[in-house]
Amino acid sequence: MPHRFFAAAVLLAGAIMVGGCTTSLSSANPAGPQAERINDLTWMLVAMGTLVFLIVLGALLFALHRGSRRDESASGEEVERGMRRALAVFVGVTTAILLFILVVNFRTGRALAEFPEQEAVVIRVTGHQWWWEVEYVDPRPNRRVLTANEIHIPVGRKVQLELVSRDVIHSFWAPNLHGKLDLIPGYTGQTTIQARACCRPQNSAQRPRYTPSRSEWISVSSLNRPSASPPGTRISYCRPSPPPTR
């Protein structure tokens, strides 16, 4: 049987982990402004969703309780009119909630694209089955650096990523910096990220210590290697050393 690597890696070959701040892949531990905005939005949506769910559940239980105690079904023009009015109110309230979500959504979407005016570090990431090719783009040839499976980004600097694929569709994901962006053959994905915090090299027994510093670079390691090892096994790290490319 041909040993093909699991399809997750093919379609999604990029569960990438940002090093330093946590060993988990959770998007709930943001390390950059964009992941923070998304995290705030997530909690707002969770809170609203929970509230709406509890209200509907309460209405259902109330209706069943009320209904089971009746001797006769409620009918007649009076009842119908009352329920019609309630339906109109329900549609109005639902629409208002959805419009609110829509507006918050757009605001978050805009905020994700907003960055201070500064020169960006440009990194070109090429997805391959089963590795990442990483190129630091710089007009000065001595500063053009090629690496594989590791991305080091300066803390606090704007980093512009160009995402391309040579074979199948991959997806670039650094959960505590930003959401996913696909690498699709024939297209170039463009996104900008920024890391806010970094931490010392760690071992798994210790809680990471946060030492944000402009001089530090944060490291991103590929999780999907062409071995049998599952994603998430490689803990990425942070180097307090000077940036490797500048």
Partner: protein, 646 residues
């Protein structure tokens, strides 16, 4: 022309006449009768049974997935087999169970509910079933022979293209999809025509039961959505088999095109499964609330609105592809908007329960479970329609949780409700209520225990389709919990199967109308005779059987031949009698035609000659199919008909 006579009701028909009708409509005896039948009830039942068998197979695959993921670094399934199994699970549940079971239920119920004797185009109906069966068997034959598809139920290119999926696995997938799309399209056309042209007189559109509205909208959605994926699957097959380059960017093709074609079908498909389920709920809730449904018009509008808006959502499956922001925003707005018609329906169901006197039998329990799960799945749906959130949740277990809440909650639960509700009509026996309640509570608890933790797994970063994970990810405990829930679901389905087996033998006799329901199928014996209605009733209200109980037997249609299989055609809006149409009797040609289609697609995987051999065989089958009937059997004009009927 058909006349109506008040004094003549179904009960007054003399036994001889029933005997004649029976002989006219019954299928042949034995195995031959089984494969030549064009009766919508026998085709519908076998369609249902087949779809349910695929549900069991899909469920077994789900169980294998859950066992594999129960603990970190499990070695039960190797990655290659795991790829095949999750692909088979998705493909089976969506293409071999989801859409087919919806259409199967409609093939059985729609003719009874509109008050006619058979579905429109009955031979096409039989053909559709055979095509579907061949497609399903073909997929599983491939799986057994280590040729099961392995690139996901959506087969994204280029992974599914010739360069990265060698062998025949993806070809098997593409052709299976083509088979099921053909079956879906023909069934949709039959259902549309049956609803629009074969309603009993008096069932004008404003008296159309909500399930029929739901099926009408759904069938139109099938007609518009399925060609998109059928085209896509054929383009994929051509890329793979004869080196076209539709999806190959190196030669000017476009990898993203596949995603558009697939999701333009794939998103409406969710509603193709949900709308009939909502239709079940709108039919069944009034019966158990013992009250007319509140907001009939609002629910009709909600169904139609959902049908339209569901075609404007597909890009929300593609938020991470980097399409332009402004364009994506439109799809966010549409995705949020669809919550309004869904909410209106939920409101109307709850209001009906509030105003009625609910009776907590198993069908209603399943519908209450449906409302709870559907609201939860709908809320997570609103969450993922938000682009920033979706960028994080996309392709994670959060999506797995969301889609299973929607598919199981809003589709499988109403389907079980419908099964408990209509089982007496299909078989003449009631399902056991006590086993039904065990079935419900185990299923409801199981779904929540399985899928609720997956929301957290998704937020913790667990991605879809991984075959295993490392212990230090911390995903182990929640996965174990999910697996325990899956086992609860498995036990509940076993209880259900036991219930069916027991009730078929010893269930209580049902009688015509055990639930006190209101649509026309409850006015005929259980199970219905081959001709459905001895006399076609004239419909006098939105709840015809309840009207009959109040006003006595309805007027009925006379003037249809009893010696030839005739159905009454009525006008589209008012359902006024329009014409009589003679239907074909039992025939083998649909099976031959389906086999010819099977040869075309299956041989084409191995050699392009399939597209030459298959159509030649199909031509033979179609000539047999269309061979003129005996002149004595041809249709007569209305003038002659007046004198000739018995």
């Amino acid at each position: 022309m058909a006349r109506t006579e008040h004094e003549l009701s179904a009960g007054l028909l003399d036994p001889h006449e029933r005997e004649v009708l029976h002989r006219t409509w019954r299928p042949h005896e034995g195995f031959w009768g089984w494969i030549t039948s064009v009766d919508h009830k026998s085709v519908g039942v076998r369609y249902l049974v087949t779809a349910f068998l695929f549900f069991i197979l899909g469920g077994l695959e789900a169980a294998a997935i859950r066992i594999q993921l129960a603990r970190p670094e499990n070695q039960l399934l190797d990655p290659d087999l795991y790829n095949q199994i999750f692909t088979m699970h998705g493909t089976t549940m969506m293409f071999l169970f989801g859409v087919p079971v919806v259409l199967a239920a409609a093939i059985y119920l729609v003719p009874l509910m509109v008050g006619t004797r058979n579905i429109a185009f009955p031979r096409l109906n039989a053909f559709g079933y055979w095509v579907y069966l061949i497609g399903g068997l073909f997929l599983y034959a491939g799986f057994v022979l280590n040729t099961g598809p392995d690139s996901g139920w959506f087969s994204y290119v280029p992974l599914a293209g010739p360069g990265y999926s060698a062998g025949k696995r993806v070809d098997v997938w593409a052709q299976t999809v083509t088979f099921t799309e053909i079956a879906g399209l023909v069934a949709a056309v039959e259902i549309i025509v049956t609803i629009l042209k074969q309603r009993a007189p008096g069932m004008s559109l404003n008296r159309l039961p909500l399930y029929l509205w739901a099926m009408l909208v759904t069938s139109f959605m099938v007609v518009f959505a399925m060609p998109s994926v059928a085209l896509g699957s054929q383009m994929l097959a051509m890329d793979r088999l004869i080196a076209t380059h539709f999806f190959n960017p190196a030669e000017g093709g476009d990898a993203l095109l596949w995603q558009h074609l697939f999701w333009f079908f794939g998103h409406p498909e969710v509603y193709i499964m949900f709308l009939p389920a909502a239709g079940f709920a709108s039919e069944i809730i009034p019966v158990f609330a013992r009250r007319k449904l509140f907001g009939h018009t609002a629910v009709v509008l909600a169904l139609v609105a959902t049908g339209f808006v569901s075609f404007g959502l597909w890009v929300h499956h593609m938020f991470t592809t980097g399409l332009p922001q402004l364009g994506q925003s439109f799809f966010t707005a549409a995705s949020l908007m669809i919550a309004i018609p869904s909410g209106v329906q939920v409101f109307c169901w709850i209001a009906t329960l509030w105003a009625g006197r609910p009776r907590f039998d198993t069908p209603l329990l399943f519908l209450l479970g449906f409302i709870v799960l559907f609201v939860l799945g709908g809320i997570t749906g609103v969450m993922v329609s938000s682009i920033p959130f979706d960028l994080q949740a996309h392709d994670s277990y959060f999506i797995v949780a969301h889609l299973h809440y929607v598919q199981i909650g809003a589709f499988v639960f109403p389907l079980f409700a419908a099964f408990y509700f209509w089982f007496p009509k299909l078989t003449g026996r009631m399902l056991s209520e006590s086993l039904g309640k065990v079935n419900f509570w185990l299923f409801f608890a199981g779904v929540n225990v399985t899928f609720f933790p997956m929301h957290f797994l998704g937020l913790m970063g667990m991605t879809r389709r991984v075959y295993t994970y490392a212990p230090e990810t911390g995903w182990g405990p929640l996965n174990l919990l999910a697996t325990a829930g899956a086992m609860m679901i498995a036990i509940s389905v076993l209880v259900f199967l036991g219930n069916v087996a027991w009730s078929l033998k010893r269930g209580m006799a049902a009688g015509e109308n055990p639930w006190g329901a209101h649509t026309l199928e409850w006015a005929v014996p259980s199970p219905p005779p081959p001709y459905n209605f001895a006399h076609i009733p004239v419909v006098q209200g939105l709840y015809p059987v309840w009207e009959q109980e109040r006003q006595g037997p309805p007027p009925v249609v006379t003037g249809l031949s009893t010696t030839r299989p005739e159905v009454l055609l009525t006008t589209v809006l008012d359902a006024a009698p329009d014409a009589r149409n003679e239907q074909p009797g039992p025939t083998i040609w649909p099976l031959y035609a389906a086999l010819a289609v099977g040869v075309t697609f299956i041989v084409a995987i191995f050699t392009p000659w399939g597209f030459v051999i298959g159509p030649l065989l199909l031509a033979v089958a179609l000539i047999g199919w269309g061979w003129p009937r005996d002149p004595g059997e041809t249709e007569e004009g209305p003038e002659e008909a007046e004198g000739s009927h018995d």
